[in-house]
Subunit: 456 residues, 2 copies
Amino acid sequence: MAKSVPYKIYLTENELPRRWYNIRADMKEQPDPIINPGTGKPLTQEELSGLFCTELAAQEMNHTDAFIDIPKEVQAFYKMFRPSPVVRAYCLEKALGTPAHIYYKFEGSNTSGSHKLNSAAAQVYYAKKQGITHLATETGAGQWGTALSMACGFFDVDLKVYMVKVSAEQKPYRKAVMETFGANVIPSPSDTTEVGRKILQANPGTGGSLGCAISEAIETAMTTENCRYVLGSVLDHVVLHQSVIGLEAKAALEKYDIYPDIIIGCAGGGSNLGGLIVPFVRDKLTGKANPHIIAVEPASCPTMTRGRYAYDFGDLGGTTPLLKMYTLGAGFIPAANHAGGLRYHGMSPIVSKLYHDGLLDEARAVEQTKVFDAATLFAKHEGTLIAPESAHAVRVAIDEAIKCRETGEAKTILFGLSGTGYFDMAAYMDYRSGEMVDFVPSDEDLERGFASLPTV
Amino acid sequence: MAKSVPYKIYLTENELPRRWYNIRADMKEQPDPIINPGTGKPLTQEELSGLFCTELAAQEMNHTDAFIDIPKEVQAFYKMFRPSPVVRAYCLEKALGTPAHIYYKFEGSNTSGSHKLNSAAAQVYYAKKQGITHLATETGAGQWGTALSMACGFFDVDLKVYMVKVSAEQKPYRKAVMETFGANVIPSPSDTTEVGRKILQANPGTGGSLGCAISEAIETAMTTENCRYVLGSVLDHVVLHQSVIGLEAKAALEKYDIYPDIIIGCAGGGSNLGGLIVPFVRDKLTGKANPHIIAVEPASCPTMTRGRYAYDFGDLGGTTPLLKMYTLGAGFIPAANHAGGLRYHGMSPIVSKLYHDGLLDEARAVEQTKVFDAATLFAKHEGTLIAPESAHAVRVAIDEAIKCRETGEAKTILFGLSGTGYFDMAAYMDYRSGEMVDFVPSDEDLERGFASLPTV
């Protein structure tokens, strides 16, 4: 008889992963290299070490070690907010009347409210170890900035967060959380950088953008003594750190002899999705199993479903190295009314490559009102008010469970619940008041974005 | 050798309590009975059943059954957000350089953000079982309203929450959370009740008060078909439900052969403190152990440290039954700048009686800037941004740990961390900006409150 599965499966502290999984070591074909736009040649680890701290630059380039030790200090930090459970969504299953078994890996049980803390902890630790005293980053909605503030507070590293001005004004409480952890939060564009001053002069009343905030953070990192830049998604070393999500999920399910038929994750920059799926993709690579893996993105920012697989800049200003990825073009701007997160024009090069090679089976775009329908249903039956980003995965998990109701199949569905929505209530209010509308970019909208792609 | 203690001690699902603990059955002297102010005589269960649903009225009167079964449906609801861990505050201990061992029972890992959900689940379940279709309550800061909204959403019971108008205006997001779970949130005073209309007529621009919101909720319960009133603290049946906190904490510590020397809880209406301590007070009653138990309250609302043990109304309007409790008088109004929660004038009759009889060893009043000092230190080292209410307990836990550093004693400290502060950032901002000031009421202030005490 199968073991009875509890509502929540917790690993014990001794069962927590002690190594991250680096899927690049197992991939038959590597993602195309990062290109230095100045030289047109592959970026060297040394070049990357000017921007990021040395260990992170090394991890970014590492395609030989399948497993990389999680430093003891990072393991200790992880124990503050982990284990994060795999939850059996019994109540949602009942509400849907589905024979499917629905599980979710919940990464929202920490003050930053998301999985971002997994990489923030690692990145700040390595900086501290190297003697770096200052870090700079940008944040849009604020989850990454909050996670990094927590890690910098803990490891006692000075942090400047350039927060998109309109976001800082709309979310003063999010800013206050970061400040409580000791971060210096600067609404961007600001007069603290040359690029910021230029933008302010050209656009006096601007509310800023993520592209602008990235440029200010990079300038600060490059011009401040003993300072580095840190990034919360997209890059390989971030997916590496986030592999802890998938490793834990797999280990927790294995305790009950469960293996998922379908794995679902929301995809913005790709760190949450990538972290969740890589250990399962390994099973595909070794022929051990073949789960159906689905990436979910907003219909208003359809990077994988309608984007191109091409080299592109990571930011609007074109100051970053070039990454080969699914992209809508750095010049693509999602509709202003888009409330559901996941607004990034590009996608993690690892996730992009897996999708390109068919190892990530499917990408699906969903409309935001449907996403909030799912979030509201989930809140009522599972008791957690989730981030709009995560609700994309919930939407597709519910859709798949409803299909099972129709076919009578008792499939096992695992999805990643990347975070909570406690600082996203304005979006929930728009949804409830009926002010939220769906937006699907036209082919012409997409062409305008693609026109911004660089020629490499 | 002692077992090595993990950062977080989780009970398994099978180890979760299946019964609540009713300390009244073990108390040598009972608290004085609730009085019907109309008759001047002890309130009967039948009288109470008009206001509360039948099972809760019965629990309120029960002083014979030491253990009361948690219904299966409530156990299932509990599994959505429990087990809640006992956490060893290793990082805080290290930061303080104390030989003390600090543990906290964390009740904030759910969307309502606090322990209130423990009683909300039970109260809504019993109402539903009785066929009650509507519930009415009041909320100030919003934790109770949110918890009740979650339970009503789950059990599909209609809910009206009268939310103090100034709070509803300052916390639109808190209101939005309740609405997402399906509650009807009405800023109080409102024109939906007679008492609300009267107050509005007399004070056109008023921001309302908890006393007024209680009166509106009670009127709604008494005048709406198939409706009952529900209360989130103070009463015996609420402390009964909250005993799950102490039962779990005790069971978790026992797994590692740990027994606390000091137990600390914050005290507003007393439900969190009461729930935490009752299983340990039982050990005092049976002579098994004698931990030092400390209740912590704000210096600006010093119910236990400077109040009187007397009969008083639960609300400002004098519409509730009379309770024998420590009280500052229903007419006592804490300073307007008080941000730290725990503003209630009275205290749970059970907690009051335990304190009066010396079974709750000590009450301590702390000033709010010191409370936020502790909250900020806790955030930095333990990674959780906590509710101002809970920070009162943290303040005293830190003070006791510092004493241990001075004496060299390795005492074991357990405190209750009742909730998170994600919707309390305005208070953190006041603290950081230096706008937060401390306030200690003068003896004259207290005399004005005592003058409102009824003569029984």
